[in-house]
Amino acid sequence: MTGSPRTPKSFQEILMRLQAYWAAQGCAVLQPYDMEVGAGTFHPGTTLRSLGSKPWAAAYVQPSRRPTDGRYGENPNRLQHYYQYQVLIKPSPPDLQALYLGSLEAIGIDMDLHDIRFVEDDWESPTLGAWGLGWEVWCDGMEVSQFTYFQQVGGHDCKPVSGELTYGLERLAMYVLGIDHVMDMPFNDPQSPIPLTYGDIFRQTEQEYSRWNFDQADTEMLFQHFRDAETECERILAAPVRDKAGRAIIMAHPAYDQCIKASHLFNLLDARGVISVTERQAYIGRVRALAKKCADAFVQTEAGGGNPVEAA
């Protein structure tokens, strides 16, 4: 391929190129969801919008938290807080693979030099009651993205099917920039008046959060918050209110916020090591039950392609 753009200089340049690329493909460039989530999939722009019949095309960065992956900032590849880049297009376009490969070129991966492969990797989220088929995408043997055709979310068949792309931004950027330790990666242009590395921004936070996640978080409080989130989610969904036109006002999004909270609280409790192997399945089941109820509610709303008058 000719005219490959020059190699980017920084983490943020890669991120901005992805934003520009997917904007040019017609995606609404959303902003990160303002809650703690484990992956970009939890953003309502994916979970809820992949449901129902309405077409959708969105791309966004999502800061993601996986408390058990914290390594006090010492591991070259593992972080408890990292960034995912997420694209969701419904229905999945026939040229989605080509569009995806275009995005790799846009961030400076020269197709004439690299070996890109689509290796079977089916995706399943037990907490979201969701699954799909697709691949992990390998660039020279490194997994750089997850590519999934959603088949079910929250227990509902996806019709039409959404195509989802998830890029692990740090890993991808480290590869493009040729960096071996994530903390050494230039966050902004190294030629800037004040150059900042990833470590300048995140080394201390990784240390602080690793300590809190693993050793300090008040587990009694976390258990209580989990129960509160669960209770509130169910309460919101059980009590729809009508407007003057007789339409049910279904509060799918506020309920889903509580589901997201419960999921993250579970992850924190897991990192604290206070959930036994047998309890683990039960907790995952409780979060899934919430996700399913939120999905049930969302498909009755206008955005979910439902008819709120009938939903009453």
Partner: protein, 701 residues
């Protein structure tokens, strides 16, 4: 005779599904064509990550015309009957024929089904096959409802004969069949038309696609072994990995790289497993050092810099993965050196083995107690066997086995040695899982045998007790494999023990599981059922060794049949005896004696077990039989006692000639009731003498 070419072009098909998909495509399409009345000469199916291709040669151009006659109502039947007949045949009244039959005139329908042209049939069959293809997992995409393994993009479907190629008229969910395809995703541009299978294959090759997976495998293996040979190295053979890798590429390009020095002291199993599982690399060994020093990766393309960037990238991933492995290895070593194997195993108390059979720690405690009991039977020091059982599964808690479950046992061996445990204990960590399959090696080191037996017998007894037995093809806990393992371990070491008695291994295992024997209760029955399960597995095992199942049945009837080593010795001796002429003929004589005796006993309502008296014997043959039986009994009793089954069998087989001579010369049913009774009692002696060796009534033929 046209040839059919079909290509189903899609996004990347999982490598593991391709082989079955090829077979399914071939059989489903050809079966469909044959059912529709077409014939063909030969067929072949091919796959790459992005396509399934079928070539059918010598297809008939159309199906034969068929003529069907159906008999309708009589001409004087009510109108309704005739209307019904017209509806069912789809004909009108003037198309029917009236024929004279014995009972009057009858309406006949002659339905001619004209032959159908191949394109029409192919279109129907292919659409049907696509819509019902048995993928292990399939999906929808976009706004459509068609299911395929991944999005299906195009269908190439041609019938080619001398006059040229014709596109088969076929549309599936908006995808119309055509005569074009495309080549390699990166090394080829645009679509091109093809006219036949050979043309397609040749043009694909030009477009950097090797259509045949066997050819891709051959290329990869050739290139890898050649490169390794040139450096005095060897590629570790792995057929499964080769097939998988060949299913990931359309244009295989072999690249070899070196494992960084700092990882070379990792155990070779760790290097090999990590490289295979994570990156699908082949391991390259240095035969002089026995170490894995290099790797082979297979890219899907040639690149401008001849693979340099690709190899560098792969190496970077390898280093990250092996850094993890090294971290696990060093951490685990530190653990066993500070708290020992038992310290590493501590967490197993929190790991459930089965919710009705307790935790892994509970299970290990049972295996330990049982191994201590079994140890003397196999010549192992009980304390050592107990220690081995206690630590053999400790590595389930290691970081390395957490990452690579398939290294269970192997890592335990390394860690036990690092912890300074005796070699017999370290070896048992891996060996106690063996034998894993019918062709796997059987451990013979006594400590390993004791732990392996204890582990498997605990599993079998436990799952039997909670009624989780194998049924049909379902055996989720691999109990058949465990039973075969026990059999092979016992036979391999010639272990002499009954299995089910109170003090025998299964009896002890039942105690440890808290199963209590009741006279007639279900758990009392269970143990015999479990023994029968062992006997069934033994039959399968011995059948493969060439010993017939009826021979095993004949020896199963003997006492002590829960001692499998004894049982097999008997079966082998009987099998060998029956292969001799005397042995084979003895069966006939025995059966004759037994049949006459059984009939007489039924008729007379008595059992002729009073002992025959030689003084009533008439003629030399009868007297000779008395003498022969005396000799046989004198030989058989001590031989059986000494477990010299070959001697016992040949003593029994020596009865053949006297028995044959006796039957030739003597009439059993003599008019003299005293002599008749005496002869029946003599036949009983034959039966009783043979019964000391085996139950010959079970022998077939």
């Amino acid at each position: 005779m046209p040839d059919l070419l079909l290509e189903l072009f899609s996004e990347e098909i999982p490598a593991r599904m391709q082989a079955k998909a090829r077979e399914d495509l071939k059989s489903l399409v050809t079966n469909g064509l044959v059912e529709a009345g077409l014939t063909y000469a030969s067929a072949g199916a091919f796959s790459t990550p992005r396509r399934l291709v079928l070539s059918v040669e010598g297809l008939s151009a159309q199906s034969p015309a068929l003529k069907e006659e159906r008999k309708g109502p009589r001409s004087d039947a009510p109108d309704a009957a005739l209307e019904g007949f017209l509806r069912s045949t789809g004909l009108t009244r003037d198309q029917l024929e009236l024929r004279d039959e014995k009972k009057g005139q009858v309406w006949f329908a002659v339905i001619e089904k004209p032959g159908r042209a191949a394109p029409e049939i192919v279109a129907e069959v292919v659409e049907q096959v696509i819509r019902s293809f048995p993928w292990p997992k399939s999906m929808r995409w976009g706004a459509g409802s068609l299911r395929w393994v991944r999005p299906l993009h195009s269908i190439l479907c041609l019938l080619t004969d001398e006059t040229g190629a014709e596109i088969v008229p076929l549309t599936v969910d908006g995808i119309a069949a055509g005569n074009t395809t495309e080549g390699h995703r990166f090394m080829s541009k645009g679509r091109f038309a093809v006219s036949s299978f050979d043309d397609c294959r040749a043009k694909l090759l030009k477009a950097h696609v090797v259509l045949d997976s066997a050819e891709r495998e051959a290329r990869i293996w050739h290139d890898a072994t050649t490169a390794a040979f040139a450096q005095g190295l060897e590629v570790a053979e792995d057929k499964g990995l080769l097939a998988e890798v060949a299913g990931l590429v359309e244009w295989p390009v072999m690249l070899m790289g070196a494992i960084p020095e700092r990882f070379l002291d990792l155990p070779p199993e760790v290097l090999q497993t990590s490289m295979k599982e994570h990156q699908k690399f082949f391991s390259v060994k240095n035969p002089r050092t026995g170490r894995i020093e290099k790797f082979v990766t297979v890219a899907n393309r040639e690149t401008a810099d001849h693979g340099e960037t690709v190899l560098k990238g792969n190496l970077k991933v390898l280093s990250a993965r092996l850094s993890d492995a090294k971290f696990f290895w060093e951490n685990d070593l530190r653990t066993v050196k500070t708290v020992g194997m038992e310290g590493m195993a501590a967490g197993l108390a929190n790991v459930t083995f089965h919710n009705k059979l307790g935790s892994q720690a509970d299970r290990i405690a049972r295996i330990e107690a049982l191994a201590r009991e079994i140890a003397p039977l196999v010549g192992a020091p009980p304390d050592l066997a107990a220690e081995a059982a206690r630590v053999a599964k400790a590595d389930l808690q290691s970081a390395m086995v957490g990452e690579f479950p398939e290294l269970q046992g192997t890592m335990g061996g390394y860690y036990a040695r690092a912890a300074g445990l005796p070699e017999a204990v370290a070896a048992a960590c891996k060996a106690h899982y063996s034998p894993l399959g019918p062709s796997d090696d059987v451990p013979t080191e006594p400590v390993s045998v004791a732990v392996a037996l204890a582990d498997k017998i605990d599993t079998l007894t436990g799952f039997w007790a909670i009624d989780e037995k194998p049924t049909g093809s379902k055996d989720p806990f691999a109990l058949r494999r465990a039973a075969l393992g026990v059999i092979r371990l016992l036979l391999g070491s010639g272990v002499r023990t009954g299995l089910i008695g109170t003090n025998a291994p299964i009896g002890k295992a039942r105690d440890l599981h808290g199963i209590h024997e009741t006279a007639s209760g279900p758990s009392g029955a269970d143990v015999n059922e479990l023994l029968t399960f062992f006997h069934d597995r033994l039959k399968v095992f011995l059948r493969d060794q060439g010993i017939r199942h009826d021979i095993i049945d004949a020896v199963l009837a003997m006492p002590g049949n829960d001692d499998l080593t004894l049982l097999v010795k008997r079966a082998e001796a009987l099998s060998a005896a029956l292969k001799t002429e005397d042995g084979a003929n003895l069966i006939q004589g025995f059966k004759r004696a037994n049949n006459i005796l059984t009939q007489a006993e039924e008729k007379d309502g008595v059992e002729y077990s009073f002992g025959a008296d030689e003084k009533f014997a008439e003629g030399p043959e009868e007297k000779a039989l008395f003498a022969a039986l005396d000799r046989a009994e004198a030989a058989i009793v001590p031989a059986m006692k000494a477990e010299d089954f070959t001697a016992a069998m040949s003593a029994m087989a020596a009865l053949r000639a006297p028995i044959d001579a006796f039957f030739t010369a003597v009439q059993i049913n003599s008019d003299n009731p005293v002599i008749r009774r005496n002869r029946l009692n003599l036949l009983h002696r034959i039966r009783a003498t043979c019964a000391q060796v085996a139950d010959l009534t079970k022998i077939e033929g």
